[in-house]
Amino acid sequence: MLTIKNLHAEVEGKKILKGINLEINKGEMHAIMGPNGSGKSSLASVLAGRDNYTVTEGEVWFNGKNLLEMSPEDRAREGVFLAFQYPVEIPGVSNINFLKTAVNEVRTYKGLPPLEAKEFLKLTKEKQQLVDFNTNLMNRSLNEGFSGGEKKRNEIFQLAMLNPQLAILDETDSGLDIDALRIVSNGVNKLRDAEKSFVVITHYQRLLEYIVPDFVHVLYNGRIIKTGTKELALELEEKGYDWLKEAEHEKESV
């Protein structure tokens, strides 16, 4: 579904990604871990098409299409979803109106007619229950005055509504208390199916107790330096990143 080949990217002339290779198949759950500043969020931003990142080398293919040539909105319409680490507030735009616009933009792109008000409300209700999203937040301005946890839950709710093929969760666990973490994780688990793939970016192993990954990758200094299964996350929890960093530096100095 997603193939990343030797991806290099920089921001303001600073090299951030230095040759990422990653293959993600349908229905897989990938976790990307790594210390601060290793490039995890940058990878998410580059995949979503944030324009302050410049791709200097490499390729990204999504379902046989060249992702890097697409505008951010087309990537979203093709089925790439980024759950933001810091969702923005947009005053005056109601959550529901925003979602309706987004859902219908994606449908139009796929050649489907826009959803009737009734169908849309039905879908909303269904997904709201699925991910346990508070009805009161539906008619409020988008993320305005939401608590940190409410914002993250709104991201998962949007994920449920837009039903993408690839969901990238950028530190969705950051700033969540244990209850919110459980609700968010439950939401994600309910959305898992054979057609959908996930990339979960996180600092902590904690999230992976709830969302069990098929693969764990360690990103360091703009490169994936180790790939394993969920046991790798446990090992990292125990030993930290230093042993991997050292191994990496040794490799570099050779």
């Binding site: 098409g49 909105e73 933001f84 969702p87 005053p91 005056g92 933009e105």
Partner: protein, 481 residues
């Protein structure tokens, strides 16, 4: 991916949709401002002696008055002698019905989306179409007359209802009020007249559509709306003009009188030609609009959506004279490229228990400069007067400007005056967030802007709210990178 600069270039190249001109034979007076031209206009319109006298008093006042210097922009040099003060489509004879209106004119208004044919017209909206200086057609006049509602061109009102005109003309905006109002008093050409009799709720929206076409002319219309006891009317004006390299002056006057328990809602969707990206050409929209709530528990509400004009300079105001009367001002002003807006309102609380509400939403893009200027004054007799003001600014890009000048004068201890203000910016983060949900940048800006102005657009009559929403999206197309 497109960067901000390219997008800004893009809007600059975006053409003004209503910039076409109409080829039609015109009666145009020679340029120049003097007593003779005033007499010429008055004679051309077959006006009674008292009106000519009034015009001449206006001209005397104009000569004594100075151009203001307190505004937040440099007043361009206005060569008033080079303008022509009368331009009207030539007509062969008195028109008896719409069928006799020049087809070229009908086509012009059709093209502007204002069909004057009653069968095609928006149901529930009566239109007075003003082309350059004169009213060319008024729809649904007969139907309104059955209820005693008078809706006609100003010129016609002078002929048909001289007593009403004489009684109210200049009572809200005197002939010597300010330099542009004085100029208007001297040379006003036409406009609309509305009278709603006692106890009548006007069954349809009344609307005037102003079109400037001729070159080197100024447009000076005058609108007078009188709502008698217990009556209600909703009135809307729209405006467009062709693209021309010269600036054109539009100095109109609107007077509203609301008697006991009467309510007048006045809405404006102003889309005069704004000039090109370098600020060349465009309309100077220097207008005096004022209403008086003369009667107790009367209400006047101004709603304006200002997207056009090179310079918009006006303060639709309300004098709350009647006890427990109410004034409202809802405004959206958009500037982009080199446009300037210095607009706001003045609310004078005179009567007891008077209330007012001001909601102003400024949007600045490109090199536009937007100022809100408002005065809330509470007189010594205005026991328990209440005012709420909210004044928001939205910035798009980092070349634009936004300023707020609120003035509050209270001479009564029981008055309660609130002022809230915010400034925000459409951030690249907001745009990217919406992009990442499949919404393209144009739609994203429209979504954000419409959310921002919703409170004001909700005040417009339904059909026009939709129009105004579209107009805003078109106006701001491509303003964000």
């Amino acid at each position: 991916m497109i960067n901000s600069n390219e997008i800004i270039d893009d809007i600059a190249n975006k053409e003004y949709e209503f910039g076409f001109t109409t080829d039609i034979e015109m009666d145009i007076a020679p340029p120049g401002l003097n007593e003779d031209i005033i007499r010429f206009i008055s004679a051309k319109k077959n006006e009674p002696e008292w009106l000519l006298e009034w015009r001449l008093k206006g001209f005397q006042a104009f000569k004594k008055l100075k151009f203001p210097n307190w505004q937040h922009f440099e007043l361009p040099e206005l060569d008033l002698q080079s303008l022509s003060y009368y331009a009207a489509p030539k007509k062969k004879k008195q028109l008896n019905s719409l069928d006799e209106v020049d087809p070229e004119l009908l086509a012009t208004f059709e093209k502007l989306g204002i069909p004057l044919n009653e069968q095609k017209a928006l149901t529930g909206v009566a239109v007075d179409a003003v082309f350059d200086s004169v009213s060319v057609a008024t729809t649904f006049k007969g139907k309104l007359k059955e209820m005693g509602v008078i809706f006609c061109s100003f010129g016609e009102a002078v002929q048909e209802y001289p007593d009403l005109v004489k009684k109210y003309l200049g009572t809200v905006v005197p002939h010597s009020d300010n330099v542009f109002a004085a100029l208007n008093s001297a040379v006003f050409s036409d406009g609309s007249f509305v009278y709603i009799p006692k106890g009548v709720r006007c069954p349809m929206e009344l609307s005037t559509y102003f079109r400037i076409n001729a070159q080197n002319t100024g447009q000076f219309e005058r609108t007078l709306i009188v709502a008698d006891d217990n009556s209600y009317v909703s009135y809307l004006e729209g405006c467009t003009a062709p693209m021309r390299d010269e600036n054109q002056l539009h100095a109109a006057v609107v007077e509203i009188v609301a008697l006991d328990h009467a309510e007048v809602k006045y809405s404006t969707v102003q889309n005069w030609y704004p000039g090109d990206k370098d600020g060349k050409g465009g309309i100077y929209n220097f207008v005096t609009k004022r209403g008086i709530c003369k009667g107790e528990r009367s209400k006047i509400s101004w709603t304006q959506v200002e997207t056009g004009s090179a310079i918009t300079w006006k303060y639709p105001s309300v004098i709350l004279q009647g006890d427990h009367s109410e004034g409202e001002f809802y405004s959206v002003a958009v500037v982009r490229n080199k446009q300037i807006a210095d607009t706001g309102t003045k609310i004078h609380h005179i009567g007891k228990g008077t209330r007012s509400r001001i909601i102003s939403k400024g949007i600045s893009a490109g090199h536009g400069d937007n100022s809100y200027r408002g005065l809330v004054s509470v007189g010594p007799r205005a026991e328990n007067a209440r005012n709420f003001t909210q004044c928001d600014s939205l910035l798009i890009g980092n070349q634009c400007g936004s300023h707020t000048f609120p003035y509050i004068e209270s001479r009564n201890k029981t008055a309660m005056i609130e002022h809230e203000a915010t400034t925000s910016k459409i951030g690249e983060d907001q745009i990217f967030y919406l992009n990442a949900r499949g919404i393209d940048t144009e739609k994203a800006v429209a979504l954000i802007v419409n959310g921002y102005v919703k409170e004001v657009l909700n005040q417009l009559p339904m059909e026009f709210a939709v129009e105004a929403q579209k107009l805003l999206s078109i106006t701001l197309e491509g303003s964000v990178g």
